[in-house]
Subunit: 318 residues, 2 copies
């Protein structure tokens, strides 16, 4: 039996959309998977009942506090031990759930991860990723997309490992090709970070490094995993989101561009921590929450954090 | 009388497309403007004649050498003094032409600028820009887009000045709003470069700084000029180009997305040098070359380099 912890108080449209998303997910999850709804249980019950659901299909962990989207992450996490985020990470640390997923305050999720399950030994910094819809129907992984604004070359090499494990075990990409985001193909091109990172990636025995990629290669078949600092990744991600929004505003109907809808992807695992934690976009509605839960299920099935721990413990120090 | 020097040997499709572009431009230019075709004069004559043109409508500066697109820029510029690029910059330095435009080797153009007309006194580094098509029909300016991979905060402040002058005098944007590309709106967000730059921009009396912008704000009405390091700008530019190419591949017909076609914009001035020099995309065909020449004409009319020199000489040192 697998138990996934779901924060029903996190996100702009919580608890309603979070609970509705959990109801949607339940119909698609394997039979051996149950959902533990973390948050106000009475509210969860009434939302489920109001929408014709069966409250007994879920498990509940009642909490009394809520970390809001705008709150200072560190202070909120520490001052609200009975918040859904704090409770979720405690359950994860106690191994009472196989994964914890939330669309709540991303900063508080990161703080929660650091203070409870903590980084995998040897990891410099965790990362978060984004799924890139490829022209050929496949997907790629971009990381980091925002939690590490300033990076060292060694961090980007580890992002390559994190992204490769995610690609391999969750997106079923065998031997993922790792590309370094850069401003030119040639090895000697780049800013200081990219030039140093290129040399480390070339020497790395843990990765299938294919060289530099450029902004034009995000959606083609050049690489399966693209690494960059979190500043660059965040700009890329938001630019791609804005294109999707322009495509919608212009009323363009196209199945490929529809794959840019973040709702399809359910967010990202926090990569590199001792536990399977998933964060989703704060604006997630039921469909996005459902996909967050499906991702949590896949990450838990793969036991992604253990896979990453295994590779990091064997990776050649540089 | 205004004379614009056009490199007819530069670009992937030179000399043919360069000469055809010059022929197209001539029909749209003001009557007081003549084009000096720099390159192999006999070839220019035969292309013009073959296409029913009148060779006497142009002026010619014959050169015997060509810097190819892939050549090492510094070596090529120095070893080929009778190349079209070297000749063009010499004519510009001697003030025999009002602007020099080329779709040739960008590196050689930068080297040529540095070795002949040189940087404006007080400028840390020149920059190149890209035009952002806005949803509301207007345009914005993004810089730097690739020649300064590593930047200091003071450089980004100057990019704000360069971009504002370009916006004001070439794109007729009064009091251009300058935004800093960042990963969040809040002042304290960002990597080290963005955080330091934000503080300098806030204090700058020379700019209409409106704060941070994000990847999602490139095509909305938030800012007229967006400054970033050349690494980030290059990734943004190429990602936008790839979206345009995806829109074309998906056969989407939309007048807004058509504005992402680089051919419409004719390239960028090299901003911050003692002369009006324009560089265009190496893949430019006749239409793009025509627009490069139109841009050169506007930059020369505005005497952009003098405007920039004036502002820089009055800008408050930080």
């Amino acid at each position: 039996m697998k138990l996934l912890g779901i924060d029903i108080m996190g996100g702009d449209f919580a608890p309603r959309e979070a609970v509705l998303g959990a109801m949607l997910a339940l119909d698609s999850l394997p039979l051996d998977t149950r959902l533990l709804l973390i948050g106000d249980s009475a509210t969860a019950h009434s939302i489920i009942t109001d929408h014709g659901g069966d409250v007994s299909r879920f498990d509940y962990h009642h909490t009394t506090q809520v970390i809001t989207m705008a709150e200072n992450a560190t202070r909120a996490f520490q001052q609200k031990p009975d918040s859904s985020i704090a409770a979720g990470f405690q359950l994860l640390a106690d191994k009472r759930i196989h994964a914890f997923a939330s669309a709540g305050n991303t900063g508080a999720m990161m703080v929660g991860a650091m203070l409870t399950v903590k980084n995998i030994p040897g990891l410099l910094r965790p990362a978060i990723s984004s799924v890139l819809p490829k022209e050929d129907g496949s997907v790629g992984i971009l990381l980091d997309v925002g939690i590490n604004a300033d990076c060292k070359p060694e961090m980007l090499v580890q992002f390559g490992i994190l992204g490769s494990e995610l690609a391999r075990h969750v997106y079923s990409i065998a031997n993922p090709r790792v590309g370094l985001m850069n401003l030119g193909e040639e090895e000697e091109k780049g800013n200081l970070l990219a030039k140093e990172t290129h040399q480390l990636l070339k020497q790395s025995a843990d990765l299938n490094f294919i060289g530099n990629v450029e902004g034009r290669d995000l959606f083609n078949d050049m690489a399966d995993v693209i690494v960059c600092d979190g500043f660059t990744g965040n700009v890329i991600l938001k630019q791609a989101e804005s294109f999707y929004s322009l495509v919608q505003k212009r009323n363009v109907k196209d199945e490929y561009f529809e794959r840019f809808n973040y709702e399809n992807y359910g967010g990202t695992p926090i990569l590199g921590i001792n536990g399977n934690a998933i964060i989703a976009h704060g604006i997630s509605k039921a469909t996005a929450i459902k996909n967050m839960i499906m991702l949590a299920s896949e990450v838990a099935d793969a036991n992604l954090c253990e896979k990453i721990k295994h590779v990091l413990s064997h990776s050649v120090p540089q």
